[in-house]
């Protein structure tokens, strides 16, 4: 493994006097599921927002390397370009689907940039040229593929807001995958899911990792998810990285136990 997919180096984010993320460095590898865990307020979501461009980090570098060795310095890119050109997709802690639009439309919007080019920035689309029709059909097939994969094809024409919570979570992941990412960032994908739905989520994430050549970075509180599927766990506390390793290593790390459970004073 020459270059990690994502290399975060000395990432620091300050909000005024508050240092939410303090000189955090870690790597995310291809075809690995990397979990970021930590108590509430540890800076997980802030680090996440820096990687996906929703915050501009105060200091540090975030370098993404594609399989063809093209490199992107994410900390200098606008948020939509991070998804468009660097191919980093994300989901949100509080689901952000386009509620009034159907499941299929949600998955079509994720292919916006591709379809915009195919429609020659609307010109070919207005006249419904064959090239655009083909692209539209291909986009629909891709959406269909992902709907089949998460098992909501029969609800394709229903508004996203009408889906049950678990389906909404998985639809958001499917929508992110429709952008053809190399790195998929999930912000608490298991939040609010029942045990059976968590199981399904685990299976989905594993299959995404194994079949789509995607690195997965996730923030999670649900330890059953983290311990079961993560290849690599990073623990943050008060904005600092306190542990980094496999699930077993992290679980037995005294620093992690201290952060989560406190330590007995003697």
């Amino acid at each position: 493994m020459s270059q990690p997919l994502l290399a975060v180096n000395q990432l620091t984010m300050r909000f005024g006097g508050l240092t939410a993320v303090d000189a955090v460095s870690f790597d995310v590898h291809r075809e690995h599921i990397t979990a970021v865990i930590g108590p509430n307020g540890a800076g997980k979501t802030t680090a996440f927002n820096c990687i996906t461009g929703f915050y501009k980090p105060t200091e540090g570098q975030i370098v993404l390397t594609h399989a063809d060795d093209r490199q992107f310095e994410l900390e200098q890119m606008e948020d939509f370009r991070i998804s468009q050109t660097a191919k980093v997709a994300r989901t949100f802690q509080n689901i952000r689907l386009f509620g009034g639009m159907t499941v299929l439309e949600n998955l079509m919007i994720a292919q916006h940039n591709h379809l915009m080019k195919a429609s020659l920035y609307t010109l070919a689309g207005i006249f419904n040229m064959p090239s655009y029709q083909r692209a539209q059909k291909a986009a629909k097939e891709k959406a269909q593929f992902w709907m089949d994969r998460i098992g909501i094809t029969d609800r394709a024409d229903d508004p996203a807001a009408a889906l049950p919570y678990g389906d909404q979570r998985r639809l958001e992941i499917a929508r992110a995958m429709c952008t053809d990412p190399v790195l998929l960032c999930l912000d608490e994908p298991a939040a609010g899911l029942n045990p059976r739905e968590s199981e399904e989520l685990n299976a989905l994430l594993r299959s995404i990792r194994d079949t789509n050549n995607v690195g997965v970075l996730l923030i999670e509180h649900d330890m059953s998810v983290v311990m079961e599927i993560s290849d690599h766990v990073i623990v943050l506390d008060y904005g600092r990285k306190i542990s980094d390793g496999t699930a077993t290593q992290v679980r037995n790390d005294p620093a992690v136990i201290k952060a989560y459970l406190g330590v007995v004073e003697d």
């Binding site: 468009q84 386009f98 916006h112 024409d157």
Partner: protein, 451 residues
């Protein structure tokens, strides 16, 4: 529905609520109905005239109406009735199938309209006016309905289009068909110019800035006398011709060429079909745009801007394109307006126009093209209808002018709409793409946009 009259203990709280409503009504009506300033004709100038009887009648009516509502109304427990109980009318407008049949029927009616026996010059002028507003409504629908950006200054683009045609045809002798795309292009440019500063604004702030923009354009037109003629406006704008044949009595005119007897109606009918063609063009283009990636991105922007950015959609370009394309149709309509009137002045582009167009879009439903047609007919045609109610003079006396009630009825219609159809006549949304069957999305799911 209780048909039995309530007992006395139940009646008391109703009386109390009715009394409160009456007191509120008293204070509301006091300055509007109760007091009137009148000119004495003498040296004292104005004096106050008290109309206690009118005030008493109004308050009495409110009390009786409120009591009737309390006794016969359904909601005895104070909870409002559920909004989701679509009436037959709503289901009628809402269903996609009906929309597909009503549309062509309306189109055929619009085409044969000038040849119907009752279509005189006045009726045709009204038809032209309504279709102009339908076109403006469809243009604004892109910005407000699809992209969810509240634009209170849409009339500015109408003005840009009108003055573009006027100035280009007066100074350079350009014909209508040459000016039309140029006017659209100029309006779109101004749409982008407006779009840039308001990119970061949402909601109320966006509304205020667009409102100001509309006024800026009007004030510039009013004060740049050398260029726009100031408040005198620009007159003797060349009228559009029928493929080079002017509508006049000359030998080379339209009537002479086709061996017809000259009539001033020919020009009106031509203008009618001109605006109808422009409106149909607008209908197809906006309808098509909505189903393209760009249109879907506009709607996604309305639903959730942050999610759009996370999916790699350039929200800046998407917003600007919504402003530009919406403005372009305003420019087309403005160009037609100038050609029809042969005269433009800043008075035609005041805030009332923006408000009317916005009201048409809001009443029609944010994403229904058919709804805009109905609301334009109601808003523009309805106001004209008031002028026709002269027979009411028999009842209310010769001083009664029904067209003065225009704004009162307008407000009443708005209040009723907000009560019964808060999301417009056609509040459902038709998906832009579907897999198996096209179901409409109910209004409760659709976000209204925050900017």
């Amino acid at each position: 529905m209780s048909s039995q009259l309530p007992t006395l203990p139940a009646l008391l709280p109703m009386l109390k609520r009715s009394a409160i409503a009456t007191i509120i009504a008293f204070f509301l009506f006091l300055p509007t109905l109760g007091i009137k300033t009148a000119a004495s004709g003498g040296v004292d100038g104005l004096f106050l005239q008290y109309r206690w009887s009118g005030l008493a009648i109004a308050c009495g009516l409110i009390f009786v109406a409120r009591m009737a509502m309390e006794i016969f109304g359904k909601k005895q427990d104070g909870t409002s009735k559920p909004a989701a109980a679509p009436s037959a009318l709503v289901r009628f407008f809402g269903s996609a199938k009906i929309a597909k049949t009503v549309g062509p029927v309306l189109l055929v009616f619009a085409i044969v309209f000038p040849f119907l026996p009752f279509s005189d010059r006045y009726i045709l002028d009204l038809g032209i006016l309504i279709i102009t507003y339908v076109m403006l409504g469809w243009g604004l629908q892109i910005v407000v309905g699809l992209a969810g950006l509240l634009d209170l200054g849409y009339v500015a683009f109408y003005a840009v289009g009108a003055y573009s045609y006027a100035l280009l045809s007066i100074h350079f002798g350009f014909g209508f068909w040459m000016c039309l795309p140029l006017a659209g292009l100029l309006a779109a440019t101004w749409g982008v110019i407006l779009g840039f500063p308001v990119l970061r604004l949402r909601g109320d702030y966006l509304a205020i800035v667009t409102l100001a923009f509309g006024e800026i354009i009007r004030v510039v037109l009013l004060n740049w006398r050398g260029f726009t003629g100031g408040s005198n406006g620009l007159s003797s704008i060349p009228r559009p011709s029928f493929f080079g044949l002017p509508f006049n009595q000359e030998p080379g005119g339209f009537a002479a060429t086709f061996g017809l007897e000259y009539s001033s109606m020919q020009r009106i009918v031509f203008l009618y079909f001109l605006i109808l063609a422009l409106a149909i063009f607008t209908f197809f283009v906006t309808g098509r745009l909505r189903r393209l990636p760009i249109g879907r991105a506009w709607e996604a922007l309305r639903e959730d801007e942050i999610a759009c950015r996370s999916l790699g959609i350039n929200t800046v370009n998407t917003k600007l394109s919504a402003f530009a394309i919406g403005a372009m149709f305003g420019g087309f309509a403005g160009s037609f307006f100038a050609a029809k009137q042969a005269f433009v002045s800043p008075e035609s582009f005041n805030f009332m126009e923006s408000a009317t167009i916005l009201a048409i879009v809001v009443l029609g439903g944010m994403s229904s093209q058919l709804g805009v047609v109905f609301s334009a007919i109601a808003m523009v045609g309805g106001v004209e209808l008031l002028r026709q109610l002269q027979f009411l003079k028999v009842i209310f006396g010769p001083d009664f002018d029904p067209s003065q009630l225009r704004l009162l009825l307008f407000g009443l219609a708005m209040v009723l709409m907000m009560l019964w159809r808060p999301r417009g006549l056609v509040s459902t949304r038709t998906p832009t793409v579907f897999l198996k069957d096209e179901k409409t999305v109910s209004a409760a799911m659709i976000s209204q946009g925050r900017g």
